[in-house]
């Protein structure tokens, strides 16, 4: 019995290659996308769960409000870790981390192995007992116990030494500080929030501060019994989860002892966050704000797979009349209903199974490109982990159940006497047509919404990217020389003919963060978060930043040791030019006001909305990023190689690295561009699947109306008449979909755009364009079918009784 059923199901699929192709192809595309998204979402959700103590590790953070903004800080004082371990019984251990990120760190083996590194951290020795990073070589317990020891990853060992057995070898930080390799870690899994490649002991803090930041820190900083905010991200390993409440209480207790006011204590809310949630909290300030990637992608996956499944259901039910006779005969010969249900389920199992296989193949083939687009790396072992295989199995069962049930129940319900007389559709026919049109409308509504969303997102990104920066970003190179050769290097390149001018700033625009100061305006009592940048007086001229007003207008450059603010800072602090302004500058910044500049963009935040900025003018002893404006010639290469020569001469301890300002700006949007691109791909796919469904339905409907069309042709209808007759029937649900989707899409996109200060307006033509393109696609899809019918000889259709 089973064998016959199987044979019959396969034969049936084979005989209807066209419909089977549409079903399997559409489903496979949908399943491939769902699988990729499943892997992505699964990967996101699995973050940091590989640690054996994952459930017990918590990070301490503090929340406070400033300028009506919620600010979350994770920097804690050194004593915060040990104090809690001593005083609270549920705290088993702690790890303090100090991430050396904002400064440029260069690691060196020898002159030819010299690289900038950003994943460098100082940590307590407990780093390797609290977290579970497997060692390739070395002893986790003692790896960080010696001062000047360093644990590096396998990848880094290969990068510097070309091999992995390098314990005992030395690496130099910024050419000066030697560290001995005491352990080699296996490569960090892709789903780890802590992705440091170099782990150094926390005792090196003082030395690193001195070397990298040129800051002298009192050695007592590490040991004093001070509880409060500071430099160290602190993790606790808890054995008793009550400690989650006790730690903040303990901090308040400490503070009361220190006679800190109650209002101060209450304004700082300390809190412990589970390590497992960290990945979702600490994501950088993503431009596509409110687009939670996980929800968004899950939603898209759901829509795409539902569309593909609906195609299957609607095509199968649409073709029910063809199967009806078979069902009638089988019933007349004594088949039970449940046997027929079994038969139809078997068919969906085969179709879904084939589609799954094909989808899996698509997914495997495209996963590399897909995840590259997303900018994430996923270890291949993750694909076979339980987090993926179990949901995938569930998806398979869901698909079979969802797609198999309706046709099975509908078809097996036919009454044999009715269907054998060919009276399947009379009377009840209209309901089925309604059902199919509903599905078409649903699919196209979703497609149109996605399409509108894709257009709006793309436009908004374009709007942000193409907005005037407030300075000339072309032909400016940012270079980071070493401190020792800085002035010589600068002086020597200024003599080059390719160089128009140079300037210094404490950071690289769009690459580094600025420091911030919180200040209260004495004029309007506003609390303002002012970003601070140290620059020399050439900065404005070299970048082409426009002055709104320049005080003491003796030259076009501000005076040394003055302070320049941007318009937004002036606005928020309540400045008006004229009286009292200078006093205010003295009061707030402790310097004279050198001038006010027009707003210009300097980091991601300022791209999103106008941000207050103060620039300290410091002409001596300023060390940081060198901005070089090049002469506008097509031969940039020659200029750059001349600069590179001089760099090697004056700064031998550093690799020559440079960043073009305009490129740095563009990389700000890399993640968003990728998201937008992916969004576009998914939208295209959703539309493709909708069209595939429409194609199937059109094929069926035209076949069903062949007789009517034959009659009409005999009565004198032309090919054009028939085409328009058939096409309008299918356009109606698409038009309805446009009517449904447009307002919803408009509302959703308005909500999203509200988050942007600089934003586009959703214009009517977007809806028109989306609607029109979908109509054109739908028309093309349908006309392939209707043309065939319209051209067919009516006699054959009419004869077919």
């Amino acid at each position: 019995m089973q064998y016959t059923q199987l044979k019959f199901a396969l034969r049936n699929l084979w005989r209807n290659k066209f419909y089977s192709g549409i079903n399997i192809g559409g489903l496979a595309a949908g399943i491939a996308v769902s699988m990729l998204i499943l892997v992505f979402v699964g990967h996101e959700l699995s973050f940091d769960r590989f640690h054996k103590n994952a459930d017990k590790i918590y990070q301490l953070s503090v929340n406070f409000t400033f300028n009506k903004q919620e600010i979350r800080g994770t920097g804690m004082s050194a004593y915060m870790g040990p104090a809690m371990k001593e005083k609270i019984s549920g705290v088993d251990d702690y790890v303090r981390l100090y991430h050396i990120s904002d400064a440029e760190v260069v690691l060196k083996k020898d002159a030819s192995h010299l690289f900038h590194e950003s994943k460098v951290v100082l940590a307590d020795p407990s780093y390797f007992s609290v977290f579970s990073f497997p060692f390739l070589a070395g002893n986790p317990k003692t790896a960080l116990s010696q001062p000047n020891s360093v644990v590096i990853t396998e990848k880094m060992a290969r990068k510097y030494f070309g091999k992995t057995d390098v314990i005992g070898a030395h690496l130099y930080i910024n050419s000066k500080l030697p560290f001995t390799i005491s352990g080699i870690l296996k490569d960090i899994p892709s789903n780890s929030t802590l992705d440091y490649e170099f782990i150094l002991p926390i005792e090196s803090f003082i030395a690193i501060k001195k070397l990298v930041y040129n800051e002298s820190v009192d050695p007592a900083y590490l040991s004093e019994n001070f509880i409060g905010m500071g430099s160290f991200t602190t993790y606790y390993q808890l054995s008793n989860l009550n400690a989650i409440q006790q730690i903040p209480k303990k901090i308040a207790e400490f503070w009361r002892k220190e006679k800190i006011s109650d209002t101060e204590i209450q304004s700082k809310k300390f809190e412990l966050s589970p390590l497992k949630n960290l990945h979702f909290q600490q994501g950088r300030q993503v431009l596509i704000a409110g687009f939670n990637k996980i929800y968004l992608f899950s939603l898209i996956a759901l829509i795409v797979i539902l569309m593909a499944l609906l195609n299957y259901v609607s095509i199968t039910t649409a073709r029910a009349s063809e199967r009806a006779k078979e069902v009638g005969i089988r019933k007349a010969m004594g088949a039970l209903r449940k046997e027929l249900i079994g038969q139809f389920y078997l068919e969906s199992i085969i179709v879904i199974g084939l589609a799954f296989g094909l989808g899996l193949l698509f997914a495997v083939l495209s996963q590399k490109i897909f995840f590259e687009q997303l900018g994430i790396h996923i270890n291949s072992s993750f694909f076979f982990s339980r987090q993926i295989t179990i949901p995938l199995g569930c998806l398979l069962v869901f698909c079979i159940f969802f797609s198999g049930s309706y046709p099975a129940i509908l078809l097996s319900n036919f009454k044999p006497t009715e269907v054998l007389k060919g009276r399947l559709w009379s009377g009840r026919g209209r309901d089925k047509v309604w059902f199919k049109k509903f599905m078409t409308t649903f699919q196209f509504s979703a497609s149109i919404m996605l399409l509108i969303a894709a257009i709006v997102t793309y436009q908004q990104l374009q709007c942000l990217q193409n907005r005037s920066l407030g300075f000339q970003k072309e032909q400016v190179v940012m270079i980071l020389p070493t401190q020792s050769g800085f002035t010589e290097f600068r002086n020597s390149i200024e003599k080059l003919s390719a160089v128009k001018g140079t300037a210094i700033a404490s950071m690289s625009l769009f690459r580094d963060g600025t420091s911030m100061a919180f200040m209260k305006s004495p004029i309007n009592d506003n609390e303002v978060e002012v970003h601070i940048l140290e620059v020399d007086s050439h900065f404005f001229e070299v970048l082409g930043i426009k002055w709104e007003q320049l005080h003491r207008q003796t030259s076009s450059k501000p005076q040394n040791n003055t302070c320049v603010i941007n318009q937004e800072a002036a606005k928020q602090l309540g400045y008006n030019s004229g009286d009292g302004v200078k006093d205010l500058a003295q009061q707030l910044f402790n310097r004279e006001l050198g001038g006010v500049v027009e707003n210009f963009q300097f980091d991601l935040g300022s791209v999103m909305k106008p941000t207050p900025l103060a620039l300290w003018i410091k002409n001596e002893d300023l060390y940081g990023t060198l901005y070089v404006r090049l002469v506008n010639t097509p031969n940039l290469q020659a200029g750059m190689s001349a600069i590179s020569q001089l760099f090697k001469k004056h700064c031998p301890d550093k690799p020559f690295e440079y960043f073009f300002l305009d490129e740095s700006y563009d990389t700000l949007f890399k993640a968003e561009d990728r998201m937008a691109k992916l969004f576009g791909i998914f939208t295209g796919l959703a539309i493709f699947i909708s069209c595939l469904g429409l194609f199937g339905l059109a094929a069926y409907a035209t076949a069903r109306r062949a007789k009517e069309i034959g009659i009409r042709k005999v009565l004198g209808a032309t090919v054009g008449n028939v085409m328009s007759l058939l096409s309008t029937e299918f356009l109606r649900p698409v038009l309805l979909a446009i009517l449904i989707a447009s307002p919803i899409a408009w509302y959703l996109m308005e909500q999203w755009l509200k988050k942007f200060t600089y934003r586009i307006e959703v214009e009517w033509w977007i809806f028109a364009a989306a609607g029109l393109s979908v109509i054109v696609l739908a028309l093309l899809t349908v006309s392939i079918q209707s043309l065939r019918t319209a051209l067919a000889n009516p006699v054959t259709a009419i004869k077919n009784e």
Binding site: S426, G716, I798
Partner: protein, 227 residues
């Protein structure tokens, strides 16, 4: 009215040619009422379809109102039959989704007739066939004879010169069949419409002035009916 010269029709089935019609020559004059008879598979319907320009002959010449149909383009042919030919089918072939009124209107739509003229024509024909009361019914709400009346009305509404009827009474009871044949006869005699019908029934065939007997794709004999 029309002239068939050595009309042939075959289907290719593999290497073999399947002859449906062979060397058919006939003249049909304006105002004539002709029946085509013959056993099943003799090629009656095929011949009718060729005359109605729904099928193309494999060979031979066909002149309709002195136009060489076998040389005309599809578009011209469509124009020709749209204006001069009306079809009546055994299975009526009404459009199930349309009412009687709309069914009657359909051929006029394809003639690009104005709305008011369509209205008056449909009203006229409904009146003539005594179907005014049934104009809003759907085909499946009518009896077979009534459906065929609508079918004939639809064929006539374009005021054709020639009506081609493929077993128009084949699905009807004899009383209804008689009624239909009377209508044909009246049309032929009073309005001068030429009629060619395919039929199995001797009795119905005798309504015509001439009977062409087909056998295995060729004309077996012709028979003049004298009254």
């Amino acid at each position: 009215m029309l002239q068939l010269k050595n009309i042939a029709k075959y289907h290719n089935s593999g290497i073999q040619k399947n002859w449906v019609l062979k060397d058919i020559s006939a003249n049909i004059f304006e105002g004539e009422f002709v029946s085509i008879m013959g056993p099943s598979g003799a090629g009656k319907s095929t011949l009718l379809n060729i005359i109605g320009m729904l099928e193309e002959p494999s060979g031979g010449e066909y002149y309709f109102l002195d136009e060489p149909v076998h040389k005309l383009s599809e578009k011209k042919r469509t124009e020709l039959y749209k204006h001069y030919i009306g079809f009546v089918f055994q299975q009526y072939h009404l459009i199930d989704e349309l009412t009687v009124y709309e069914n009657l209107e359909t051929p006029l739509l394809y003639k690009k007739m104005s709305g008011s003229e369509r209205k008056s024509r449909v009203a006229d024909i409904l009146d003539r066939f005594n179907m005014v009361a049934k104009k809003d019914l759907f085909p499946n709400q009518l009896s077979g004879g009534q459906q065929q009346l609508v079918g004939i009305a639809r064929a006539l509404i374009g005021q054709p010169k020639l009506i081609l009827a493929d077993e128009p009474t084949g699905n009807l009871q004899s009383a209804q069949a008689d009624e239909i044949m009377q209508i044909f006869k009246k049309l032929n005699e009073e309005e001068g419409v030429s009629i060619i019908q395919v039929t199995h029934s001797e009795k119905n065939a005798a309504y015509a002035q001439r009977i062409i007997h087909l056998l295995d794709g060729h004309v077996e004999r012709e028979e003049k009916i004298t009254k």
